[in-house]
């Protein structure tokens, strides 16, 4: 049992940070199952990050006065209970409330696990394990969520977290760690936390927008989308060996990471087609950038600052407020762009139907069926297959109709891709802003 303590605590850190984006691929299923609106379902994501971001610092302050193992165990237990509640939620309001409680428990668990990992491994190794688990969780969250949604259901995302968290409660209680009584000597590290916040906003664009583009825009299954976005965590793993080989100074490493994330997001904004292969290289850039920046910045924000737990609270707060800011900036942009994309998409569809090599009666039958389908599916990227299946067309015209259906789907993919372009470019802009915070000259100190 003793040997499993630290890994269980690291898994808890990964789980809490994975929860930041774990539901991204499940949002369409949640929307349907709980009969919610797009605005409501976005709050399943926003509420968790907002509460975690705002609660992190106050939570960390409580650790200077209480036993870390008790608070950590309490936080993990609340996180586990709230995860189970999320799985059982019968309405969107209940799910959002459960996500808020989950984030509160998660905040306690996150800062508590840092103290416990340091107690287990020592300062340097403990912080490194905490940071690495966080990066892994952040990067793999959407992948795990997508695979579980496809294989089982969206509820499975929350159910699988419960046993890990339940096991982590006794693990937390088993660690003997005294409250950190270090005086409040250091101010929060503004620059690394600001860079982290901006990068988190940019990475939200990478993970949140990409899965939406794959599932809603390109009509890929959640499992396919999950496997596709797994490029990001895999590339993140390659970042450390690259950094070890080139041995850049920390600021240069972070600056290069920001630039890679910006470049990757710009690449995602301009795929030459809707083939999944075109997302791989840009995602690899984002993953490399993620691996070069997030752990390094977190370490910089914590390095030589006391009390450590409070500074951990600041980094968690910065990251998750960054995610919320990213969602707040990007959601209205891409929803408005998706709406604006309807006109060019409809015109492209009209053009292809008018010029289709079909007899007039078949064209009219398809046009009427498409019209009904587009009205029924207003507010989302439509699935046109139903319209073609329902259209009363000559059996001999079916092959030509099938070609037309493929052409129309291609037009919808083009329209959706175009609609996501500005959001990805804004994400790239956020990453460049993060780069600016790294390269901007610091305030000169008086001798």
């Amino acid at each position: 049992m003793r040997r499993a303590v630290a890994p269980l605590l690291a898994v808890t850190v990964a789980l809490v940070l994975a929860d930041s984006a774990v539901v991204t691929l499940a949002l369409p299923d949640i929307l349907r199952h709980l009969d919610a609106t797009v605005g409501q379902v976005a709050w399943v994501l926003i509420a968790f990050n907002l509460v975690l971001g705002l609660a992190a610092v106050p939570t960390a302050m409580s650790f200077t006065r209480a036993q870390p193992r008790i608070l950590s165990a309490l936080g993990i237990a609340v996180f586990a209970g709230a995860s189970a509640w999320c799985a059982l939620a019968g309405s969107i309001d209940v799910l959002i409330a459960a996500r808020c409680i989950q984030a509160l428990g998660g905040a306690l668990a996150l800062v508590g696990c840092l103290e416990l990992l340091v107690a287990e491994y020592g300062e340097r190794r403990g912080v490194a394990a905490w940071v690495a688990a966080g990066v892994l969780g952040t990067a793999t969250g959407p992948v795990a969520g997508g695979l579980l949604t496809e294989a089982i259901s969206w509820q499975a995302i929350f159910v699988v977290q419960v046993p890990f968290a339940v096991l982590a409660v006794p693990a937390a209680l088993a660690v003997r760690a005294a409250p950190e009584e270090a005086p409040d000597r250091h101010r929060p590290a503004v620059r690394p936390n600001l860079t982290l916040a901006l990068l988190s906003a940019a990475l939200t664009a990478a993970l949140f927008l990409l899965v939406l583009l794959l599932v809603e825009g390109w009509r890929r299954s959640p499992a396919t989308a999950a496997l596709t976005v797994s490029v990001v965590p895999i590339a993140a793993l390659a970042a450390r060996p690259l950094a070890r080989f080139l041995r850049p100074p920390p600021e240069v490493e972070v600056a290069a990471g920001c630039f890679l994330i910006a470049g990757g997001l710009a690449g995602l904004a301009i795929p030459p087609s809707a083939h999944l292969a075109w997302t791989i290289a840009p995602q690899a850039l984002v993953g490399l950038g993620l691996g070069l920046t997030v752990d390094r910045l977190t370490a910089q924000a914590l390095e030589m600052r006391l009390p450590r737990v409070r500074h951990a609270g600041w980094t968690i707060g910065a990251r998750h407020v960054g995610v919320v800011v990213g969602l707040a900036i990007l959601t209205p942009v891409f929803t408005a762009d998706l709406e604006d994309a309807q006109v060019p998409a409809q015109e492209a569809i009209t053009s292809l139907v008018l010029d289709a090599p079909l007899k007039p009666d078949d064209k009219i039958a398809i046009a009427e069926s498409l019209g009904r389908e587009l009205v029924d599916q207003q507010g989302q990227v439509p699935d046109l297959h139903g319209a073609f299946a329902a259209a009363d067309i000559d059996p001999e015209a079916r092959p030509a109709a099938a070609r037309l259906e493929r052409d129309l789907d291609a037009q919808l993919e083009r329209a959706a891709t175009r609609a996501f372009r500005d959001s990805f470019l804004i994400g790239a802009g956020l990453a460049l802003l993060a780069l600016l915070t790294v390269v901007a000259p610091g305030r000169r100190r008086d001798p």
Binding site: P249, L260, L285, L354, P360, G371, Q411
Partner: protein, 206 residues
């Protein structure tokens, strides 16, 4: 590794990777993966139809006619089609543009020689027309060369377009059968009128 190299290596690698990825994407059409843009409705368009006879002719005429109307209204053919597909009253400008567009389509098809000879349409028109048996037999007995000399397709179409109640057709676009009926009636009536006029001319001359 020298300090300078350590400073420069990682940014250089990042720059090469980003330039490489963006360069490959742009070279393969990245940034232009967008929905089809509507063509200029005022530019001449080649239209074809999979249907034969009056149906095929009507389709080509409508496609060219919408182009002409869109050109007059300064909107795309697709935008006009989508607008006309919506329920609601039509403006006089839309009706006039469509009427003029259809007439322009007839002229264009006459100029480029894509209008079929009238004899090709007469048999189909006779099948659909509720004509007096004697008159129908008399018309069917007329050789194609005589029919083509007597009937000009562009004249028939122009009469049909003038006869059509475009506002009524556009108000009932969901009623496909009704539209077909109106079109057939208008085309058939135009053929009949043109033939009768020609016969009258011939009898008068005789």
């Amino acid at each position: 590794m020298t300090n300078r190299l350590r400073m420069a290596a990682m940014p250089a690698v990042a720059l090469v990777l980003v330039s490489g990825v963006l360069g490959v994407q742009v070279a393969n059409g990245g940034g232009t993966f967008e929905p089809l843009k509507p063509a200029d409705p005022c530019a001449a368009r080649t239209v074809t139809s999979q249907a034969d006879g009056i149906d095929g002719l009507t389709e080509r005429l409508v496609l060219l006619g919408i182009d002409g109307a869109a050109c007059r209204l300064r909107v795309s053919r697709e935008a006009l089609t989508l607008e006309l597909a919506q329920p609601g009253p039509r403006t006089d400008a839309e009706i006039d543009a469509l009427h003029d567009g259809l007439l322009a389509a007839v002229r264009r098809m006459k100029e480029d020689g894509s209008l079929p000879p009238a004899s090709a349409l007469v048999d189909e028109a006779m099948d659909n027309a509720d004509l007096n048996g004697f008159l129908e037999a008399a018309i069917r007995a007329i050789p194609d060369s005589v029919v083509n000399a007597a009937l000009k397709t562009d004249d028939v179409l122009t009469r049909a377009i003038d006869d059509l109640d475009l506002r009524a057709i556009l108000a009932n676009l969901d009623d496909q059968q009704g539209i077909n009926q109106q079109m057939e009636v208008a085309v058939t009536q135009a053929v009949k009128d043109s033939l009768v006029d020609r016969l009258r001319d011939l009898i008068g001359q005789g």
